[in-house]
């Protein structure tokens, strides 16, 4: 019974948040981007759980059905990717350079704040793989002495922040091509960002999916190298 209640309330909360955003969009224009349904419904549902003294475990069990659909949906990203196939193949070199750079910036920008703050290595390496999807990031954290649960939290927060702020932040660069927008969102904010990119357009989604995928591979190579280097230095 409870199970169905949480699944149902999640769907309705999301639909409500979507309606809320489209109303705001008419009134406020681009500022309404900040009220993305993911952000609004997550905050709404957290408040519901807090006020009803429900533990997350109970909620998670009830919404397993939605989470279950994530994996086949990520596979489904292969379709927009294929549709851009020819264009992507023609500039794969540029894409690789871009994602390598983005991957390095992503790791360094995650490491620097905790390093300068004097955090212990396990916190630093929990944050390092922040920009890639949860299962990949947790894997990296596990292998480099990080705390996987901290990584999971930071990855989700990064995804939501990137999805909500991405298009606004990138508008700082002026007029921007769909491919550039997509790849930047995918590299910096993985799956949640890619979901957002798809809402902007299929091409944005395809580039974002490629960014997510390549950054997943690169980050899982680079962070362990960095870890080995740091260990060598510390010992």
């Amino acid at each position: 019974m409870d199970n169905l209640l949480f699944l149902t309330s999640t769907i309705f909360m999301y639909v409500l948040a979507q309606t809320f955003q489209s109303l705001l969009m008419k009134k406020l224009g681009k500022v309404a981007f900040l009220f993305h349904p993911v952000l609004v419904s997550v905050i709404g549902l957290i408040l519901v759980l807090v006020f009803t003294h429900t533990s997350y475990e109970v909620y998670a069990e009830g919404t397993e059905g939605l989470t279950f659909l994530l994996a086949p949906s990520v596979v489904a990203l292969g379709v927009p990717l294929y549709k851009e196939w020819k264009k992507l193949a023609a500039k794969i070199g540029k894409i690789l350079i871009t994602v390598s750079f983005g991957s390095l910036v992503g790791i360094l920008s995650s490491i620097l704040p905790p390093l300068l703050w004097g955090c212990p290595p396990e916190v630093i390496f929990s944050l390092a793989p922040r920009s890639v999807t949860t299962p990949i990031a947790m894997n990296i954290a596990q292998g480099t002495g990080g705390v996987p649960s901290l990584t999971a939290a930071v990855v989700v927060a990064t995804g939501i922040f990137g999805a909500v702020m991405g298009p606004l932040v990138l508008s700082l660069l002026g007029r921007i091509e769909s491919s550039v927008l997509g790849i930047a969102i995918g590299v910096a904010s993985h799956g949640i960002g890619t979901a957002r990119a798809l809402e902007l357009g299929e091409r944005e989604g395809a580039y974002s999916a490629l960014g997510l995928c390549l950054n997943g591979v690169l980050t899982s190579i680079l962070v362990p190298i960095l870890y080995t280097g740091a260990n060598f230095h510390w010992n």
Partner: protein, 135 residues
């Protein structure tokens, strides 16, 4: 979600079956070769390769993929609510963590976009820029 084509509902079930098939394949490949990426991401790569090599026609998976991707954001909501469970882990060192998330994400995005745009321009600056179809 501005790419809504007419969906043929009779194609949904076989399409979803194929997506799960590629998920299983992706999981198998990552396990077999001990690859660091997740099974679903591998499945995505395998699916686009299979479409690219014409091993399966686009029409088999297009509708199922569209219907799942239209609601991709929704499927991330339970994970987002999971932040509630991580209160304790996030409480210690929250300042550098918040800085890494906010500044780090913005810097990564702007840096990636900047480099990709620069690389795009170095070659096609003189040609007509046909790619600016921002919806």
């Amino acid at each position: 979600m501005n790419h809504s084509r007419q969906i043929d509902s009779s194609r949904l079930l076989p399409g979803i079956g194929i997506l799960f098939l590629f998920l299983v394949l992706g999981q198998g490949v990552t396990k077999l070769f001990h690859l660091p990426i997740s099974g679903s991401v591998m499945g995505m790569v395998l699916l686009s390769c299979a479409l690219g090599c014409r091993m399966i026609p686009l029409s088999w998976v297009e509708d199922a993929s569209q219907i799942l991707l239209q609601h991709l954001s929704l499927f991330f909501v339970p994970a987002g609510v999971g932040l509630l469970a991580y209160r304790e882990v996030l409480r210690n060192n929250w300042i550098p963590i918040v800085l890494a998330i906010l500044l780090g994400t913005m810097v990564t995005m702007l840096g990636t976009a900047g480099v990709h745009r620069m690389l795009n321009r170095t070659e096609q600056d003189l040609g007509s820029n046909q790619e600016g179809s921002n919806s």
